[in-house]
């Protein structure tokens, strides 16, 4: 499986990564070589084998739906690149 430059740009967009044009080719070749490496899987017969998602086959543990955390807004905002009046600031979304 090898990718063309358009595939790489599409994947980069889906992954929200701005790839400079000069890097598209580098990733085209490195992503293609990973896909070649994993191609070996397709020759294995896995019919009747269920996917394994958790090695211990555990199911999701649930807890009571109750408040367990205190409000630590200021602590969390301390790491924000931009914040104001207790809110995270992002570029304007709606005109």
């Amino acid at each position: 499986m090898s990718l063309d430059t358009q595939d790489v740009q599409k994947i980069a967009h889906l992954a929200r990564l701005a790839l400079p044009d000069e890097e598209v080719q580098t990733y085209q070749s490195s992503l293609s070589s990973v896909l070649e490496l994993v191609e070996e899987m397709q020759s294995v017969d896995t019919s009747g084998v269920d996917p394994l998602t958790n090695p211990l086959e555990m199911t999701q543990r649930l807890r009571e739906d109750e408040v367990t955390e205190t409000n630590r807004r200021d602590d969390f905002l301390a790491n924000a690149p931009h914040s104001s009046n207790g809110l995270f600031l992002v570029p304007k979304v709606i005109d």
Binding site: I11, A18, L35, N54, P55, V90
Partner: protein, 486 residues
């Protein structure tokens, strides 16, 4: 002092031959002297360390000290530490000060350890050489022209150089065992779910597991006693009871059945390493163990299965880094999309971006079944291989890596060759079983690790086996000549 084990140091602390503050000062000054040539630390937390040591001395004076009180350690810079910079080896988190503490670091703090700093690592734990760190490559203390392994390379190098007594690591595909092997120390990757993942920066959540890295199995056992066990904060934490990992160290190995997978000893493995490992395995026979050849037929499929599952989970986990709530944000974004795309492209290094893209592709519409689901079906075949083998034998032994530590820069242009380095470690994470790397000799002056793999929750057995071996060998007591190659 820098080469002493936890039990010996604890004894000297309790008998007041040395105070925790003196011990801490001495290790801190050794870090200052030695680490500029290794780069094993991203942050050294001198003030916090001296304050914690003073507290430890009070506890010792009051007679309430535990076995880890006052012992200097370091954490891989992937564990969130409240109020202390946690970078995960990335520019993305160059300014991230966590407002909370991971369970592993919290339990070790509770046990009285003294944190000296946060260790270097491959960015977001993606790498087998520690060359992928935004904070620079780490050098192997045995030869500074060589890599220490990765991704927990900073922790391994720091322990091997005697800069700390023990360190934490994490292992998603071999990131505790391979650096432990390359640096000649002992490392344990516990069963998936044995140690809480709460507060670890997530890489691949169905594979990630934290564990101890130290000179000996005994020291690893002391760390395991502090960190292992159920945690309500981690939804995949196991409720199974823990063992006392120190108490069980001295059990005899008479009657132990060791399996040697033929796929681990084929032509991929370097002959010198093979001979070193066979010599080690003879020691176990002398200790009363019997050897049996076994087969793990799907071993080779662990590479494709892992390099689909791990990047897929990473692409999902790393979507949280968006420049909004923490971490790097680009300058002057023109809109929200531009902010996401440039913040992520600037904040992540190449290997991380590559793996995010591999994962994004594998999870994307039309490819999900052929890649992600297929990889998970193969994952079950790999797990079944281990279940079958461990019904016949008690433990499995083999190499940790196909070679000893390689030269810095020698594989950076061939990423697939770097991925193939992980052939002997990945399957353990896919199956979720525990495994160790134990120093077993040298090849051309570089350490060789023996991998010991066991059944689910058999950490006590693995530590016991490694400890018994370390009673009759002294590979784990060898020290690098820190001037070499510097």
């Amino acid at each position: 002092m820098y080469q002493q084990n936890i039990a010996a140091l604890a004894k000297q602390l309790r008998s007041k031959d040395i105070s925790s503050v003196e011990l801490t000062q001495s290790f801190l000054s050794r870090i200052k002297d030695v680490d500029p040539s290794l780069n094993s630390f991203i942050s050294v937390t001198e003030d916090t360390a001296l304050n914690t040591a003073a507290e430890a001395d009070k506890l010792i004076a009051s007679g309430n000290a535990g076995p880890l009180t006052g012992i200097p350690i370091a954490h891989k810079d992937l564990f969130c530490t409240n109020g202390i910079l946690t970078t995960c080896g990335s520019k993305m988190l160059h300014n991230f000060i966590p407002p909370y503490e991971s369970t592993v670091t919290s339990r070790l703090k509770q046990a009285g350890t003294v944190l000296l700093g946060k260790t270097n690592m491959d960015e977001f734990a993606m790498g087998s050489s520690n060359e992928n760190s935004y904070y620079g490559a780490v050098k192997n203390p045995w030869d500074t022209t060589k890599v220490p392994g990765g991704s927990s390379g900073g922790s391994a190098a720091a322990v091997a150089a005697g800069l700390v007594v023990a360190a934490t690591g994490t292992d998603t595909g071999g990131s505790i065992r391979q650096p432990a092997s390359f640096c000649g120390i002992t490392g344990l990757k516990p069963t998936y779910g044995r140690v809480s993942r709460f507060g670890m920066v997530a890489f691949a959540s169905s594979l990630d597991q934290a564990g101890p890295m130290a000179r000996s199995a005994e020291d690893c056992a002391y760390i395991m006693n502090a960190i292992a066990g159920f945690d309500t904060q981690d939804s995949t934490s196991s409720e199974q009871a823990t063992d006392d990992y120190v108490d069980t160290l001295s059990q005899p190995l008479q009657g132990l059945k060791i399996g040697l997978p033929k796929e681990y000893f084929d032509s991929t493995l370097n002959d010198d390493i093979k001979n070193t490992l066979m010599t080690a395995i003879k020691e176990f026979e002398k200790l009363g163990a019997t050897i049996k050849e076994i087969s793990l037929p799907n071993l080779k499929l662990s590479i494709p299965s892992y390099y689909v599952i791990a990047p897929s989970e990473a692409s999902s986990n790393l979507s949280r880094f968006d420049g909004v709530r923490y971490g790097h944000r680009c300058e002057n974004p023109k809109d929200l999309l531009d902010m996401y795309m440039r913040s992520r492209a600037e904040g992540f290094g190449q290997e991380v971006q590559k793996r995010i893209m591999v994962g994004t592709y594998a999870l994307s519409e039309g490819y999900y079944d052929a890649y992600y689901l297929k990889a998970q079906r193969i994952r079950r075949l790999i797990k079944q291989d281990f279940v079958n083998a461990l019904a016949e034998v008690d433990v499995i032994m083999g190499p940790v890596a196909p070679t000893t530590a390689f030269d810095i820069g020698s594989k950076t242009n061939d990423p697939v060759a770097m991925y193939l380095e992980d052939i002997y470690t990945l399957s353990v994470n896919l199956a979720g079983i525990p495994a160790m790397s134990v120093p077993a000799g040298f090849d051309n002056g570089m350490p060789v690790g023996l991998q010991i793999m066991g059944n689910y929750f058999a950490e006590a057995k693995l530590l016991n086996i490694a400890h018994q071996y370390q009673q009759v060998t002294d590979w784990h007591l060898q020290n690098p000549n820190l001037a070499k190659g510097a």
